[in-house]
Each structure stands twice: as C-alpha cells, then as structure tokens.
C-alpha cells in the first residue's frame, strides 16, 4: 500500500527515480515523468545513451560517486529539458544510497526555478543597467574634462599678459583694474585646477599610489615643499604660517599615498585657511607620527564653518562662507584622495573662533 502511494506521489510530482543495479544498469523505479516521455517515448528502454544528455552525464557521475562509497548525497546543478512543445522542465538530480539501494532522484523544480530565475534575472539586469550608466557617466566626465582642460590653455595667456601689464608703468586707476583682472584670472585658474584635480582623483585607480616605504612620499618633505611655495603668498596677505613639527623633524615620515597629490591636499587646506584668515592671523600646520599612522592638522583663526554645512562640508560644490570665486571642490578632492589611500579627513571648530582640519594618513611600513 505504502509502496503504491509513494509510486503515485512520485508520479504526481513528475519525479523520476532510477536505481543502479548490480549489473551497472539504471532501472526506472517510478512512473516516467512527462519530460522523459516526451524525450524518449512511454516505453523507454534502459539507460545508456537514451537518457537526456545532462542526465546521462550525471548518471556517470553518480556511478562514480557510489563506487567511491561516499555517504553524503551527490546533487547536480539545475538543468532544463525543453520538450518539443517548447515547454521548459527545470530539473535537479540527487544520487544517494538508501539502505544499500543506489538511487537517483530527479526532481521537477517548477516554481522554485521560476523564483530563482526571477531573482537572478533582476540582479543581472540591475548589474547591466548599473554598468551601462557607469560607462555613460564616465564618457561624459571625460568629455567635460576635455572641455575644462581646453579652457585652461587660453587662461594661461591671459594671466601672462595681465602680469606683464601689471609690471608696466600706468596710472593708479589702470593699475587697480589690471590687478582685479589678474586676481580674477588667477581664481579661475585655481577653479579649473580643482576641477581637473577632482577628475584625476576620481578616475585614478588603487594602483596609482604607493604603500611601499621605498616609493611612498615623505610627509616631512611634502610639508616643507608646500610651506615654501605658500610662504610668500601668506606673507603678501600678512598672515602667519608656522609649523613647529616641521622645525622639529629630523627624519622622513613615509606615508601611504602619492607625493604630488599629498602636496595638492596640503595646498588645498592651506589655501582654504588663507582664504578665511585676516591680516595678522596665524595658520598652523602640525603633525604627529604614531607607529601605524600620522595625524596632521591645519588650523586657522577664521570665522569657522557654519554649523549648517558641517555635515556636507566634504561633498562636491559645498562652500563655506561667501564663495569668493571657488568651485567648492577642494575639500571634496582632499576627502576623496585621502580615502583612496585608507586615510581620512575631519573638521572641528576652534575656540573662540577658527577651524581645524584633521588629516589621518597611514604610515608606509616595510613588510
């Protein structure tokens, strides 16, 4: 009775049960499911080449599995039989030893297969759409980069000509106009450079910086170089620029990164500090090296960052205070670049007024 029920049940479920006999021949122990009937006709002889190709391959694997005497069942991946009427039959086979009987069950997966396919379909379509969008964005960014780059070339000529004019003899009114034009052109140069820097940092790969101390930048050298470059600019604005750490440094401090970009990060932070400082203020650049990392701070006595924009300060196009002709990309560049190197940047207000930007860098260590 139980045997009849099992037989009927397997038939209803469109399952196939095969048994491997001592003579090495597979014998069907269930009704022939519809997909098999379509494949080989109701009568269906014993196995061999007449099994559908995937099943034939699995039966060979099952035979080996039984020969090896592995206790755990062997499970096939899913496959799909397509009957001549175009119907798909998703199937999965398992080989297991049941009380010494070497059996293969072939399950008809039906709804489970449909569900899995729907999930995978959606996941893959999303991946394809994401890739396509990413490529589109990349193309547009490259185009924009070309445009911005082209804008830079004539600007160099304008700045050069204005500089020559500024050096020449002229009355006070003209001198003032030339100075304004020159200042505007230089601001525009800075904005274009920031845009190009951001492009470069976003398109760069993780391979474009050094972890090896033999190639990694020396923070001390980078700080010295940037302070030398910006010293005269600060002096012209009567803003002090000091670094006690640099004065006390006796040995290189190798950090994960790239020298030119590290100097650009420091330059952006110094430019930022200078922009918000008044004559007579002082900007301090200090750093402290620990075993694994280095912390660097740049502090000013400017008005500080308004509380309303602190949360978004490091995003693109965010400007603190009056824009003063900046693109709002400098801090974004710093964050993006430092995070690529495993570092970080943060902001904190100073009392009674002012800002401190805190940069964390990883030390480039041997091994």
């Amino acid at each position: 009775m139980a045997k009849d029920v099992a037989h009927e049940l397997l038939g209803e479920l469109e399952w196939l049960v095969l048994e491997l006999g001592p003579n090495g021949v597979w014998t069907r122990r269930s009704h022939a499911p519809k997909w098999l009937v379509e494949h080989r006709g109701e009568a269906g002889g014993p196995g061999g080449d007449e099994w559908p190709p995937f099943l034939a391959t699995f039966l060979d694997e099952a035979r080996e599995h039984f020969t090896r005497g592995v206790a755990a069942p062997l499970r096939s991946l899913m496959w799909c039989e397509v009957t001549p009427d175009g119907r798909e039959w998703p199937l999965q086979a398992s080989a297991l030893d049941v009380g010494g009987r070497r059996l293969v069950f072939v399950e008809w997966l039906d709804e489970r297969y449909a569900e899995l396919r729907a999930i995978l379909q959606r996941a893959r379509q999303t991946t394809l759409e994401f890739d396509s969008l990413h490529r589109e964005v990349l193309k547009k960014e490259v185009l924009l980069h070309c445009i911005v780059h082209d804008l830079k070339s004539p600007l160099a000529g304008i700045v050069g000509s204005l500089s020559l004019l500024a050096d020449g003899e002229q009355d006070a009114a003209r001198r003032e106009l030339v100075a304004i034009a020159l200042e505007s052109a230089r601001r525009q140069e800075v904005m274009i450079r920031q845009v190009l820097d951001v492009f470069a940092s976003e398109l760069s790969t993780s391979q474009s910086f050094a972890r090896d101390p033999r190639e990694a930048p020396d923070l001390v050298e980078s700080v010295r170089s940037v302070l030398q470059a910006y010293g005269p600019v600060f002096q012209r604005r009567s803003v002090g620029l000091t670094s006690r750490s640099l004065a006390a440094s006796r040995a290189p401090i190798r950090v994960v990164g790239r020298a030119d970009r590290l100097e650009r990060v420091l330059a952006n932070l110094l430019e930022n500090a200078l922009r918000h400082s008044d004559a007579g203020d002082e900007v301090e650049l200090e750093f402290v090296a620990a075993a694994q990392s280095v912390e660097l701070t740049i502090s000013d006595r400017g008005p500080g960052v308004p509380e309303t924009i602190r949360a978004t300060l490091f995003q693109k196009f965010v400007q603190s205070g009056p824009s003063r002709g900046v693109a709002g990309l400098g801090l974004f560049y710093c964050k993006n670049t430092l995070e690529q190197w495993g570092g970080a940047i943060g902001y904190e207000p100073r009392e009674p007024k002012g800002s401190t930007f805190r940069v964390a860098l990883n030390r480039a260590l041997a091994g």
Binding site: F54, L77, E88, L120, R124, T127
Partner: protein, 170 residues
C-alpha cells in the same frame, strides 16, 4: 551512416548572448528580451559536413558571475567549446579568456573559438581591434558575431564542427 555525436559547450559571462547564439543557430530565432539561463539548457543541431552527418549537442551553460560559479562537471566529455564575449563590454572578453584558462584541463585539446558577440552594436563596442588582433596572434580563432542579424553564426558553428571532425579523424 550513423551521425557522429559531439558535445559543444557555450561559456562566458552572463548576458553576452550565448543562448541567443544557440537559438539563432538552431531555430533561426532572435529575441531582444534578455532571459537569464540557470544551470544548463541543451539543444541539438543536425548537420552534414562534406557528406558526413553530425549531431551537435549544444550545452548552453549559465553565464558565470558572483551569483553562479561554473562547475567543471558540465564540461565532461566536451569535444569543443565556444567562449562568448560581448563586444560592448570589454570585461567580458577578459572573463571569457579567464574561463578558457581555468577550464583548459577539462576541455583537453578540443577546438575552441572566441565569439565576440553583439557586432550589430558595433558603434557601442568597447573591444578594440588591436585586442582582437593580439588574441589572433596568440592563436585564438576569433569571430565577431551577431545573434541578432545572424552575422558569422552559421560560420562559427561550421568552423567548430569541421575542426571537431578533423580531430576525430586524426
């Protein structure tokens, strides 16, 4: 004459057009709708090459990605293989080559062809001619195909079929 029966596997990333190539070849059909393959789907094509009947069993294997990894057991007994890439996704060529390398021991010295599909979208191609030239120079038989308009599809299967028959005759 009893037809020679051969097993041919289609391998490549997901959505490169493996199923579409098989459908184009076996049923002369093409659908714009992408339908992902799970596991394997097997189709049969009978043809005659120089008077010799041949039955090709086409094992259209699911595209490998982070969700499904290919198993070597599918390749057991294969006589030849197509490695399929999508010309609009340069990465899919790298992946096809990586699969070719990974499954080289399972495929033995059976013939293989690299199909760079979706040639009907040539304007959107990321795969450069120099890349294909470099692969040809390395010994790969590379064909640019289009399951959509049928470009090089018959030719690809015929070339592989001939190569398999030649190998059988040796």
């Amino acid at each position: 004459m009893t037809p020679t029966r051969v097993k041919v596997c289609m391998l490549g990333s997901f959505a490169v057009g493996k199923t579409s190539l098989v459908q184009r070849y076996v049923k002369s059909l093409f659908s714009e709708r992408y339908q992902t393959t799970i596991g394997v789907q097997i189709d049969k094509k009978e043809l005659v090459i120089d008077g010799r009947p041949l039955t090709i069993m086409l094992w259209d294997l699911y595209g490998e990605d982070e969700f499904q990894k290919l198993s070597a057991s599918f390749l057991r007994g294969a006589h030849g293989a197509f490695f399929v890439a999508d010309g609009t996704r340069a990465q899919s060529v790298d992946h096809a080559l990586e699969l070719a390398e990974r499954f080289a021991p399972d495929l033995g010295d059976g013939p293989r062809i690299l199909l760079v599909n979706k040639h009907d979208l040539a304007a959107q191609w990321e795969v450069r001619d120099e890349t294909l030239a470099r692969l040809r120079a390395k010994g790969w038989l590379v064909l640019c195909t289009s399951a959509k308009d049928g470009e090089n599809v018959e030719r690809a299967f015929e070339l592989l079929a001939r190569a398999m028959l030649e190998r059988e005759s040796d």
